[in-house]
């Protein structure tokens, strides 16, 4: 099936078999390997991307459903790939990652959350991240990163 969508700000048109998952399209066809696959039961969140600004598990969505949507992956988080998005910077500053495998999904999930939560509590962050598994960090520094990242995303925007 022919579909077209905006991928990290660029118009993209592809012909995909209808059963292709969004994550397969991104990783295998389009070479965007920043989005990871950590499970086969929609549990781990390593595959989270944004579709029209909302975080979505790309292993759970068919590629064809992205037709006409705006998709952002971790590669699109920093507009130029050099200056980090505030959430990326926060993960780096707060040691919010170790092996880095869960990190793209964590950050994509966190940026969606932080967009509407400029000053989240620790409990709110922990609750939101329930669908993202990290085996390395024990989550403590991820929570810290998300709180710092949320604050940085909203810096200068308060009335």
């Amino acid at each position: 099936m022919d579909i077209s969508f905006t991928l990290n700000g660029r118009e993209t048109a592809v012909d995909v078999p209808p059963a292709t998952l969004l994550v397969e399209l991104l990783r295998e066809r389009l070479g965007l390997t920043g989005t990871h696959v950590g499970c086969d039961t929609s549990q781990c969140g390593a595959c989270v991307v944004h579709v029209d600004g909302r975080s979505v598990k790309s292993c759970t969505m068919l590629a064809v459903s992205a037709d006409g949507c705006a998709v952002t992956t971790v590669e699109g988080l920093s507009p130029d790939g050099r200056t980090l998005h505030p959430m990326q910077q926060a993960f780096r500053d707060c040691h919010g990652l170790q092996c880095g495998f869960c990190t793209p999904g964590m950050m994509m999930s966190a940026t969606d959350f932080a967009a509407s939560h400029p000053a989240p509590t620790e409990a709110e962050v922990r609750h939101w991240l329930e669908g993202n598994i990290c085996r390395c960090t024990g989550y403590q520094n991820i929570v810290k990163s998300v709180i710092a990242g949320a604050a940085a995303m909203h810096q200068g925007t308060e009335a």
């Binding site: 499970c39 040691h95 950050m107 024990g138």
Partner: protein, 795 residues
Amino acid sequence: MAEVVGIGAAPRRKEDFRFVTGRGNYVADIVRPGMAFGAFLRSVHAHAEIGAVDTAAAAAMPGVRAVFTGADMAADGVGGLPVGWGIVGRDGLPMKEPPHPALAVGKVRYVGDAVAFVVADTLEAARAAAEAIVVDYRPLPAVVDMAAALTPGSPLVFDDVPGNLCCDWELGDAIAVDKAFAKAAHVARLKLVNNRLIGNPMEPRAAIGEYNAGTGQYTLWTTSQFPHVVRLLMGEFVLHIPQHRLRVVAPDVGGGFGVKQFHYAEEAVVTWAAGKLACPVKWVCERSEGFISDAHGRDHVTEAALALDAEGRFLGMKVETLANMGGYLSTFGPNIPTNLYAPLLSGVYTTPAIHCSVKVVFTNTVPVDAYRGAGRPEATFVVERLVDVAAIEMGIDKAEIRRRNMIPAEAYPYQTPVLVEYDSGNPRACLDRVVELADVAGFPARREASAKAGKYRGLGFSTYVEACGLAPSRLAGQLGARGGLYESATVRVHPTGQVTVLIGTHNHGQGHETTFAQIVSDKLGVPFDQVDIVFGDTDKVQFGMGTYGSRSLVVGGAALSKASDKVILKARKIAAHLLEAAEQDVVFENGKASVAGTDRAKTFAEIAGAAYVPHNYPLETLEPGLEEQAYYDPVNFTYPGGAHVAEVEIDPETGVVTLAAYTAVDDVGTVINPMIVEGQIHGGIIQGVGQALFEHGVYDPDSGQLLSGSFMDYCMPRADDLPKMTTTTQSTQCAHTPMGVKGCGECGTIGSPAAVINAVVDALAPLGVKHVDMPASPGRIWHLMRNAGLAQAAE
């Protein structure tokens, strides 16, 4: 950072930029020209004879390039997977070591045992063809429980291993222990289970094999913690490829925790298949496939007893353990519940007599091997649970009984009755500190507040010591290691003064690229951003034993430190020539070599330049170039230790245990990067909490099916299950490593299960509960509380 960043600083990690921008390079991300895709057909039976395997229909499916079976590999002379340690039983006989073919031959021995491998143009085609293979299984009765496996008449996993007993092993002085028990005023006894765990690093395993028919060179990309060891084991024993024709690359690896420190069948199969088909072959494990093919961890059943005098002093300890090996011996399997377990039963205590016997048992389950902590969490759990049982039974305060029996700081070095000599430590200081930090004094008030809210609250201690920094090769050899356990590092100084380090350890989350760069920056005075660390490629790095057992900084860091010292030595010689001074008058510090007492100096970059452009250079006595290599073999294990306190709250309505607080004080020796150490401890604690509260690899006793085979059934710790931890270090210096480091990767996992379970038992003590097996899941707690309530009502 364009400046020197030394030991004790916490720079942002070098590796993070690629990870946060999605530019990590994991095996699953790699695409090779002309690559084909592989899928395994795995046994659905726990135990069955393999009759005919009909691959014709599968081989004829579109896009299928080949279907391979165990018979094909055997016919090609492929060997079995080797075991890296051989243990010897109490009868003086070596362990039973049955063959472990990469693809099953004759029988399948667990659900997940690989039977055939399909290579096709696409993954879909490979998977579809794997399903089209017809295997004539003749199912046999299976045994998954260790006690049952040892019972006469049990099904035999291997026909020539009677009683399924791989080895009956022991350590310690049984006679001394009997004497201690004979004079005891009190004996505390406990039967406990150390639950089977599935390590589940977030990146599933993956492997790509490639063969270059032009050069005869094989390459394997694999999710491994030790590429050089995979090259050695697979090349020499399995595929018979000479070492110089085999390259193994472990690029970015998404967590290991031990799961990726074995040589796996899949690595050999993809490499062999790539050679047969002359095309790269890629296999990526699915999570559900990983549950039944990644080596599992723990799985002990133990009976233990502690003899005490009337004052609560420990006189002797007796431990009998059954340890599950699963359906084959994995790379380090037999070493974990023996050499890495029994020597830690002394803990931080002065127990004078200890005896431990371990029956190492085959069952129809996934092979069991090291998982973060590997033997040491199991030992700590036995010791610290026993100590609590004794304290409760004797009416002694739980911190006090520990203090009374602790090795005093001045008694180090301390020889235990179970083989090891602790070089350094101060367990009392750790315990006192954690008591203060966890506000143990305020606990009664918190318990009362919980009670008012209808909840049970408990507090649990655990202390621990571990043996890590694996390992002194000679001692390891005496204990059965079949390889060395040193580490190597090369410090390559470029003509312009920047430095590339080639090191044999493997970074898969531990922050080596940062920590090791700090060591070099500190020693050579080179700016931190001018040092890069290369690892994980046997064609780049000289040799290495890899990363496991909290060894990277201890052994690898020591090699790096030694190699840096050699660079300094040569730099001083070069500088002496350039400065026309005597070598002994030249001092090297802060990145400069200067003549003592003068302002005449050469920078490190100037010296490097002279070494590579040797126009003015002592060529008669010194080789050009500035690159040094060191191998380091430690003289002893290192012994990190610490004291942890867990506080839990239990909801009697649901049985849910909430970890309310966790406090850890760890002695890890010198801290190079406190941010990274803290992260390691956090992650370790939560893996231990996972074992204590959530995680459980469960087999159906009749069918031998793994019942907890996905993230829906196997409960991984998640962010909302956990509190904010308080962690700190309270270190003594290691007496024998160059920088005084001890290692920190496993501390948390070793200390936490006992602390959490001691807290759970403490919470339920008013109901008469004396022990809770792991995981303390809601269902288990709810039943325990209900039964305890019924029992109390009946009294």
